[in-house]
């Protein structure tokens, strides 16, 4: 269980990115965090991963506070961030370098097969497409078998077809070990398709606006009437969340 209590994050420049956030993520749950830009959702994910520390408050995973990156927490960034000087299998092996070589080999082969890139094992990152590179990044995060998998807008840089393909693929990967998954996204449809529960955040200062648990049957069908009804409901919510005080309306960047 991932427990976030009274988390405040103020950057050195004075910007208040998160103002006293409380949230609990159950073990094995898929949680999506949506919101427009500047609502603190990526900040929150960096705190969960241990890359940054909260100004006050705490993040606790199964009873121990997260004070830095931990082996049981995996993170997939918005960009693949592969090391260009390492082959695909070496990139995946990054996260399990402490294991004996033979064990590394079998784990790497297994996870590359799962993401459908077994035949690309010895290739260079520059030889991959954007979607393939992001699948390698997923494999790199999964190879250490984390209890918690954090994803920071992992598919936002991909085209729509690749994106929906990878979303389905992510659920298949999740089904192997069923890690707790926290997904940050600005794409409502992605959140609805993947998550059990959705938290909507709003900016100035970053905080939770609302949270919903749509009672949709798995697998979620993007064209199902109920799915669409939730989508419009959440879009409206997001629209309100990103409306600036003083009537200065903006288009919900998050809905695009």
């Amino acid at each position: 269980m991932l427990d976030i209590s009274n988390v405040v994050k103020r950057y050195p420049n004075g910007h208040l990115a998160l103002s006293g956030l409380n949230l609990t993520v159950e073990t094995g749950e898929i949680l999506a965090i949506v919101g427009g830009s500047g609502c603190g959702k990526s900040t929150l994910l960096r705190l969960l991963s241990g890359l940054d520390q909260p100004t006050s408050g705490s993040v606790i995973l199964d009873g121990t506070p997260v004070q830095g990156p931990r082996p049981e927490i995996g993170l997939v960034f918005q960009e693949p961030r592969l090391m260009p000087w390492l082959s695909i299998d070496q990139n995946v092996g990054f996260g399990i370098r402490h294991l004996p070589a033979a064990k590394q080999r079998s784990r790497i082969d297994e996870v590359l097969a799962r993401v459908g890139l077994a035949s690309h094992s010895g290739h260079w990152p520059r030889e991959l497409s954007g979607g393939q590179a992001q699948r390698v990044a997923l494999a790199r995060a999964l190879v250490g078998r984390p209890q918690v998998l954090l994803l920071d807008e992992p598919f936002s840089a991909l085209d729509a077809l690749t994106r929906s393909d990878l979303q389905e693929h992510l659920l298949e990967l999740w089904a192997y070990d069923r890690p707790t998954m926290v997904l940050v996204t600005h794409d409502i449809e992605e959140a609805l398709f993947l998550a059990d529960r959705i938290v909507v955040m709003q900016p100035n200062p970053g905080r939770i606006r609302t949270e919903v648990k749509p009672p949709l049957a798995r697998p979620h069908d993007r064209l199902d009437a109920e799915f669409l009804a939730w989508k419009y409901k959440l879009l409206a919510e997001l629209d309100h969340a990103s409306r600036r005080p003083g009537g200065d309306e903006v288009f919900p960047a998050a809905a695009i």
Binding site: S49, L51, G68, P69, R70, P71, G74, L75, F77, E79, R81, M83, P84, W85, L86, F94, G95, R97, W124, P125, R126
Partner: protein
């Protein structure tokens, strides 16, 4: 050899490595021979036709004859070996020190604040100015020569490496943090590979400087070495010997640079770099 030219050469050699090997014999490198061979033949003809007398600037054929003579007597081998040994030792020590301090100063801000200003100041002293001091400190034999070369090699390596490490993408460093890399792993597994392309360029310009400094070192008194041969040729009034020695320097410099470039090209296969059209 200028840094720019090295950069071009390096880009060219990595391109070659990246392109699939073609069955067709590639003769484009011959283009580089047109100018030097043309000039040499022109001078040979000019002297042969008595348009010029060629006393102070001997013809290529006389230089080659001199080189052959020095080779046959075994003199050239002695000089080349003496010089090569000095360059190799000086280069080795300079690279080791430059890499070690450069990597640490690039990684730790505290250390950089401590040593960088001093090193930047020392860098501006023409290295030849150290010669009298080095002779006093380390004597007139090999130690002072090797140290002078090492000092010359050290600075481009140190400067390039600290600069390149500060320019490494934060995003890649964060991947290392997520996987809980130790400081040592961060340096050896992310920072050094990421800076490898500039590091190899620095090695090459360091080697070029090593060849420059060995001449200075051998001018300060040596019993053997190509630099000694230069001085000897001047004192005995034999311009052909001077030019033979210069030719040997050029060949050795080019050869060692080529060895360094081609042995490191494999390390840069991963680069996704600009490939100029033919």
């Amino acid at each position: 050899m200028t840094v720019n030219q090295i950069a071009l050469d390096a880009a060219a050699s990595t391109n070659k490595a990246a392109v699939r090997p073609s069955k067709r014999l590639n003769l484009s490198w011959l283009a580089g021979l047109i100018l030097p061979v043309g000039l040499a033949l022109g001078w040979e003809v000019a002297v042969a036709l008595k348009w010029a007398d060629g006393r102070l600037l001997p013809t290529p054929s006389r230089i080659i004859t001199t080189l052959f003579g020095l080779t046959r007597s075994g003199e050239l081998a002695t000089h080349v070996l003496a010089t090569l040994q000095r360059v190799a030792l000086g280069f080795g020590f300079g690279v080791a020190a430059g890499t070690f301090l450069g990597a640490l100063a690039g990684y730790w801000t505290g250390l950089r604040r401590l040593i960088d200003p001093t090193l930047q100041a020392l860098r501006n002293i023409p290295s030849i100015a150290w010669v009298p001091m080095f002779i006093l400190w380390f004597g007139i034999f090999e130690t002072s020569k090797v140290i002078l070369i090492a000092v010359g090699v050290f600075f481009p390596i140190y400067l390039t490496l600290t600069g390149a490490i500060l320019g490494v993408d934060r995003k890649l460093v964060e991947v290392g943090r997520i996987f809980r890399f130790s400081h040592r792993e961060m340096i050896t597994r992310i920072l050094l590979p990421a800076t490898l392309p500039s590091y190899i360029l620095a090695l090459r310009s360091g080697l070029g400087l090593g060849w420059m400094f060995v001449v200075a070192a051998e001018f300060m008194g040596a019993e053997a070495g190509l630099g000694f041969l230069l001085v000897d040729g001047q004192q005995t009034g034999r311009p052909a010997v001077i030019l033979a020695s210069i030719t040997a320097f050029a060949l050795l410099g080019k050869l060692t640079d080529w060895l360094l470039a081609s042995s490191t090209a494999r390390l840069l296969r991963w680069q996704d770099s600009f490939k100029p059209a033919e």
